[in-house]
Symmetry: C4
Subunit: 198 residues, 4 copies
């Protein structure tokens, strides 16, 4: 299969997932809302989770193109890992909604934060698995041949992206807020262009 | 009509349908949830149905491209069968939600499993009908001419995909769990790359 | 602007609208459902409305490509009419849901059927307006020059598509069922390939 | 990264966002609706907000293509501002739903109108920031070199689009209706083709 079609379908799933996130931001029910401003402010966790998930999917989209752009064509193993990556992105609207609903509640906030950061961790793992397949397992599908050191370098850089999500998951039982904050900071850090690329 | 446009539209529908599935995974209402972990675990049928439907649509997408990729151009009969195929994919989010809601209930579990496996069966039938039109009825639209035995061989392989769904549908009145398990195993089996292609 | 981009965006909107229709098919609430089969059968209007709207959007997609495919490039007037056409398609999920909810109710069934057939009528009118702009008002954007009789012929064929929706709208105050039946028959008639094209 | 991919993903997000708007138009609950016509008319703010948001996203789409079409390739800074633009479009379905729910209520109508016009203002600001980056900060990515006066002229025209939203936001505390009316008029004004382009 050509890389064009893989990209078109993946772009579609990522574009739908990133846009569906907004359905998690609920309009406060007018019948039960004495003061709209207070009601909107009190649901601040959904705004943080929304921006975090939006930026993270955006970053995945950018990196996905860089990764697939290295390929001449794709085989079934790549399709398989790509489908698992899309599956892990596909559940993000649920995980986002879950952490937003439970972040401020004593009952469930730790589990919700663990599921949210865990979803990002799984996504980063799938991304690394896909990168490993492309760069190390079967590099003969690359459009331009790369020396092994260079391939290992690109792969290692992708693997580093896993670390903050491991920390966020480990922190979830201690502090749900700290766990979410790490996910948010990672999104902001990677989304913001660095001096070298501006 | 060119095949490009048929693929772009079909990819769009498949990408939206596969991503909409997540809306079926509901966040347990905090007001009625004493323990979040228990509440999330108790809705396990939706996770099984979600992954099954996601993988099945992913497989349909891969096979759809292989099928349309054989064509030079498309005519109205192909458009018609393709629209029916997309219609059968389009109802999967509903069938997924239905089987998830009723799988654990004595009342309705058999019918829900029958509708779920039946939806997959209809999808497989539409896929075979489209394949039959392309490979056997009007092979002069193929981009590369294929001998008849080869065309029959490809078609027969697609038709075999119908069999497990017939079994799953037949099992639904006996055991809803067995019916869903077959649909799930088919998805996992076809999605996993085999030795020959890795 | 190139026609490619107009088509890509229009395809996106049509693909999302056609797939969103499924959200209107609700799973009967297990808590209030004594018999699932009866509950599913009793909501038959949504299945008729779903298939009708799905097929109609599918037909619009096919015709939209035929229409835009005649163009070399697009100008602001074409973009304007195309946006109005997409707007009329965009409200179909709502009109579909409305007619499904009210078709069996003495109170509201006539208005719901009028709005449903009226939405199709507006869509057909926008489609004709776009066709008129392309074929008659500013034919110099056509990729291949066509004699005026041929352009009028294509335009007139598109305009005929308006007639059944005028009848369906006129029938809505008399019989909501007859109005919906006409919309359904039009969809089936245009979606089914005719002898000449098979 | 090539501009093609940026456009495909942006088109996807815009197409999904524009189509998701329809989910905000609710079917009146038959159980609580004595007269469907009255019920539908009483929710007129959602129709105004729907058409306004639909037309505004449509205009953003047209202008986005004109802007990106000037580029030869995109860098990380452009991707960053584009992601912020898509984020501001992504929240429009929520802002649309909010202003529709609160426009007629003494409690909250001013805040809802401020958030609605504020969302459009942020979107216009992101659009100008993206234009500034492309035209003034790093014009060496342009496909065709443009003299500085011409680049400033295009940029200034984009910046003028901010003004009406500043006025709409400033009017929100005085009159929610006037604020929404300005947003609606801007959408109609920009969507309608002018004599010069017809």
């Amino acid at each position: 299969m050509s890389t064009n079609r893989l990209e078109a379908f993946s772009d579609g799933v990522l574009a739908v997932a990133i846009t569906l996130l907004v359905l998690n931001i609920k309009v406060p029910d007018p019948a039960n809302t004495a003061h709209l401003g207070t009601a909107l402010l009190s649901q601040w966790p959904i705004y943080v989770a929304y921006v975090t998930s939006f930026a993270t999917i955006g970053i995945i989209w950018i990196n996905h193109h860089a990764m697939i752009g290295r390929l001449r064509e794709v085989d079934h193993v790549i399709l398989f890992w790509n489908l698992l990556l899309l599956l892990s992105v596909g559940v993000l609207p649920f995980a986002t909604s879950l952490v937003a609903a439970y972040l401020k509640l004593g009952n469930g906030q730790h589990l919700a934060a663990a599921i949210y950061s865990g979803a990002f961790l799984v996504m980063a793992l799938m991304f690394s698995a896909l990168n490993r397949q492309i760069l190390l397992v079967k590099p003969n599908l690359l459009a331009v041949e790369l020396p092994e050191e260079r391939r290992r370098e690109i792969f290692n850089r992708a693997v580093i992206g896993i670390v903050p999500y491991v920390i966020a998951l480990a922190l979830a039982p201690v502090s749900a807020y700290a766990s979410l904050a790490i996910c948010a900071l990672v999104a902001v850090f990677y989304a913001t262009p660095r001096a070298s690329s501006s």
